[in-house]
């Protein structure tokens, strides 16, 4: 399986993520009102709806410019913590894309790694803090290993998805270190981190889209 993602395809993927987030309103809102302030779904949904509004413009851009634009749109519409974290992630990813017209598996891996690094830097956070990083970090690690081992494209993508799902599930027993959940007496233990859940959705949708 050969992976080649153009701006047009990335926008198709964004549409699927927007749909996935829209469908999970009650679940995400409820998760966030247990440990946070309950606005994570509304903020993420607002961001992806904004991307949908701009989809024609985005699809017509060069790949790195499109990533930068997505970053700015998310940063300005989502606000709060998620906005600046996803914004930083997309802007940092645009820097590794350079003048490439499309992403192959290797570039996708570097893009995801650049996103992960931006989120860890901006959030001053590490794996294990019960955040979106706990879904993205193991996913990127599994994809990197798969590529190094020379596994075929589809198997590597399945590794990426499995890493995200297992990482998301691991947040259930973690204590929150950052954000509003860390003020709770039990630090959110027993509940999945909503930021890790929406991060996992994005990776799952990406893999399902590429393996369609």
């Amino acid at each position: 399986m050969v992976i080649c993602i153009t701006p047009k395809e990335y926008v198709e993927y964004i549409e699927l993520v927007a749909k996935k987030i829209e469908e999970n309103k009650d679940y995400i809102s409820e998760l966030d009102s247990i440990t946070g302030d309950g606005d994570h779904w509304a903020n993420m949904n607002m961001g992806f709806q904004k991307l949908l509004e701009c989809k024609e413009e985005l699809a017509s851009m060069r790949l790195n410019e499109m990533f930068k634009k997505i970053g700015m749109l998310i940063m300005t519409t989502v606000g709060g913590s998620s906005g600046v974290l996803y914004g930083s992630a997309y802007i940092n990813a645009s820097k590794v894309i350079l003048d490439k017209e499309q992403m192959d598996l290797q570039l996708l891996c570097r893009v995801l790694e650049a996103e992960l690094n931006a989120i860890m830097d901006r959030g001053n956070a590490k794996p294990g803090f019960k955040t979106m990083i706990d879904a993205l970090h193991p996913a990127v690690e599994r994809l990197k290993n798969a590529i190094e081992k020379g596994l075929d494209g589809k198997t590597a993508l399945i590794e990426l998805k499995q890493g995200a799902i297992e990482g998301m599930n691991s947040t259930k027993n973690m204590e929150a270190v950052k954000g509003r959940a860390c003020y709770q007496a039990n630090k959110g233990v027993g509940h999945l981190d909503p930021g890790a859940v929406t991060m996992c959705y994005q990776i799952e949708v990406l893999v399902d889209y590429l393996c369609r």
């Binding site: 009102s33 300005t76 600046v84 914004g87 270190v177 954000g179 003020y183």
Partner: protein, 327 residues
Amino acid sequence: MKKIINKPNDVVSEMLMGMVKANPKLVYFKDLEVIASRVKEKKVGLVSGGGSGHEPAHAGYVGKGMLDAAVSGNVFASPSPDRVLKGIQEANTGEGVLLIIKNYSGDIMNFGMAKDLAEMEGIRVEAVVVKDDVAVKDSTYSTGRRGIAGTVFVHKVAGAKAAAGGSLDEVKRVAEKTIANVRSMGMAMTPCILPGVGKAGFTLGENEIEIGMGIHGEPGVERTCVKTAAQLAEILCGKILADYDFAGSECAVMINGLGATPLMELYILNNEVEKILKENNIKIYRTFVGNYMTSLEMAGCSVTLLKLDEELKELLDAPCDTPALKV
């Protein structure tokens, strides 16, 4: 939900427009939700901000002797970096800009990104982080202590230093000195309702209060039954005095209302706080009683103590003229 609003999504912009209509010395930048001083003097610029819902913080402190710009996010949500960048640009007159940030994850990240963006434009930016809430254990690992009412003292002191022509480094130094010497402790009696949500995020029983609750309704240290003003003063001051050695010093005191507590009750609390400070050999230099850092319509209060030296006294006494504080 009973509120004087139109649409929940419009509360921030409509509030700021109303504020500017009442205060012609301020200017409002639509969509970016920035309030800035209309008059620009060549000096270090001061910018603060954060989620809305804490009025008069922070836009009410824009004016002579305090802030040059305030940036508002949605209710209880940090403003995005592009908004903060606009605040920095408005406050910058070439002498550099100091950001005064309350210690919340979202504010730290959004103001941090805005600082990077402003530096790319060649603006010199420094930042200080206020963490005065002794209800939270201090920690270098986690987000740690929240920034609450003590932030207003940081605005006042740093603003006075900037107005006196202090350099960016000097303004930052007095801001940090204030942060090192300020402690606050609060309590809540009723929850608040976010306009976009329409119902309270938590409940407190008829006879129940929460000691140490944050200004966004974050959990405090203890739920207990209603106390007398004397008992509350004892609890709140006790926490503060156990955290930092104020004995023998001169202090500024702030008795802050969270939004729905009448001034009558704040003065009663102040009467009790004064007695406790006297017993602890603490001299009160200046007292501020009012609604300085609120939490929508939450009932409750916070007590803030700032330990003063000659420099801080002088800066606290320097004139300022803003919608919410005039000295």
